[in-house]
Chain length 351, copies 2
Amino acid sequence: MPAQHTRDGGTPRRHQTAARSARPTGHDVADAAGVSQATVSLVLGGKWEGRVSPRTAEAVRAAARTLGYRPNLAARTLRLGRTRTALLVVPALTGEFFAAVHQGAVEVATSHDFGIVLYPSPEGIEKTPDPFASARTALDGVIASSMAPDALATLRGEGLPLVMLDSDEGDCDATVNVDIADGMRQVAAHLLALGHRDVAHLAADVDSWTFTARAEALAHALRAGGGAVVRTERAALSVAGGLDAATRVLAPGSARTPTAVVCDDDLLAAGALKAARRLGLRVPEEVSVTGFDDLTLATAVEPELTTVALPAQRVGAAGMEALLAVVEGRPPRPVRLPVRLLERGSTGPRP
Amino acid sequence: MPAQHTRDGGTPRRHQTAARSARPTGHDVADAAGVSQATVSLVLGGKWEGRVSPRTAEAVRAAARTLGYRPNLAARTLRLGRTRTALLVVPALTGEFFAAVHQGAVEVATSHDFGIVLYPSPEGIEKTPDPFASARTALDGVIASSMAPDALATLRGEGLPLVMLDSDEGDCDATVNVDIADGMRQVAAHLLALGHRDVAHLAADVDSWTFTARAEALAHALRAGGGAVVRTERAALSVAGGLDAATRVLAPGSARTPTAVVCDDDLLAAGALKAARRLGLRVPEEVSVTGFDDLTLATAVEPELTTVALPAQRVGAAGMEALLAVVEGRPPRPVRLPVRLLERGSTGPRP
DNA sequence: CCGTCATAGTTTTACGTATAACGCGCTCGC
DNA sequence: GCGAGCGCGTTATACGTAAAACTATGACGG
């Protein structure tokens, strides 16, 4: 006999004085229920039917309950190699948009016995290029809205399923898109209907596919309706950035002054509102302003922003569903979610 | 010989056809470097000095590098029983405050080889009373800003180090507080200096210690300076909630109309601004409004909010430092961080 | 020439779980 | 009456890592 186990039926098994109140293991439950650890695993794993009698199964469950047993995740992971855990990569924790995305993903995940851990990356994804270290556990898949090239390469090298949210990245297993283009089309149609022809675009100074798409869709839709983007101004993605850029756009002396300012984001639109007020322009009587994303801020400012609401929660849910499909070997189909224009007080007829 | 290992020096060790591109283990590195797995662990663990020759150590490191070896976290956790991972419990993901708290905590954590995983709980902490399941890994400690009683009991039962942020919870190992009372004192002093005496308080309708503390501190400070809270109105913690409550407070016909409205949060203050405008009251000429927390929103509205800025990032950093102290057995000392009043456009002299 | 000690490793074990492989006592069909 | 099958378990093993215990080789002092 090469090595007798310390654990031989009933005798205390910890070397220490038990002062640390160590968590009970499957062996403890087995001892308490008078069965073997294997049986405990079978019962608690739910695959005991036909292998363990109902009476014994109930005894095991009772023992587990009274001991407050919870399986050791590390051991389970080591054994299975899978964790039923997905990483959700979000560009920053600040945004309300991703808070809703997260919530949607969590709801789908929990209903499929999956877990979600967040990887919020301050200042883009550049700073911490190792999502794995951040996750603190093995992963079964990744859902990401944007990702630095090297981080993406690491992921692909690991062979992890990857779902991209609102991105044009081709090298992934599934995509979930929001119909940004249609949102801008709705904005354009709304402004054209109000008589506007000359529109300025406050473009977020962020190198991301979604903003490129916004610019293109806006220009296209306006032209198709007889209008035009007469000026594009890049702005830092903040209220102050919007204020600066809008001030440049709306300042008198410009050759062809726009009657409407379309912003890539509500933050910029809030800044535009401030700029208009400082320049003595009334909104929406003298100039119309539109936002994007429908943040809390959109109804906090006066007038309230006409903006485009994105189905953030559904984005998260669809992302998680797609990941589940990939993990389970089903073919995920690409998703494109609709958006909705909310007409509020910041837009009106052309002066 | 009871059981010969599958792994006997050089022979392929996977049962599968290696198509899965499994991650290399410490044994693979050992084979590549011509040493044993124990040596690999020693070298990569950094405690090889005096036990392994520099030449061998370098060979091991080189092999690990070329194979792209990264230790299996689950195995390490199982072995060590510790994870160098802390759970940060935040009430919701939406708030900018906790985004900054998180960032501060992460910075301190990473510099001490610790990790942080988030536990964002939608709708208070009630919904998912099991932080452990959410963490998806074993934990070495918890930092929490608020916590449902049963979740807290679970935590304590586990014997996990617990640091509370901005709470009066006594049953924890360390606390980090923000000097909310001083913030309200500064607000009161500011308003008193502007001549205000009759002040309304828009109280957040949230059952949390921090808001109770705000109310008490405000009343106290005002009374000490010859003023008074002539009216307290509870409001849902949102712009709409602030709008409702402020409308009730500012509507004409009240016996003793306040000349200033102090709000528990910038969201409420933004609502108060809207209420004033709808009632035809100019801010700050006819009524002053103050906020709390200095959200992005505070400078997006017009006029910009006079508000109290909290050192969110330092809260997170201090929380993580306290947790490290507890984990390492050092006595953590309680922290109380200062706040700062930002005087902006929403407050002015009493009419 | 032998015991001691340092160097440079290796062998072995344990962590807690899931599961494949293996009993063992009964009951049946024939 | 006896092998086959079934119901109900148990035993043994592997996952990858860290670290305690051990081994082998040489140097050196007395």
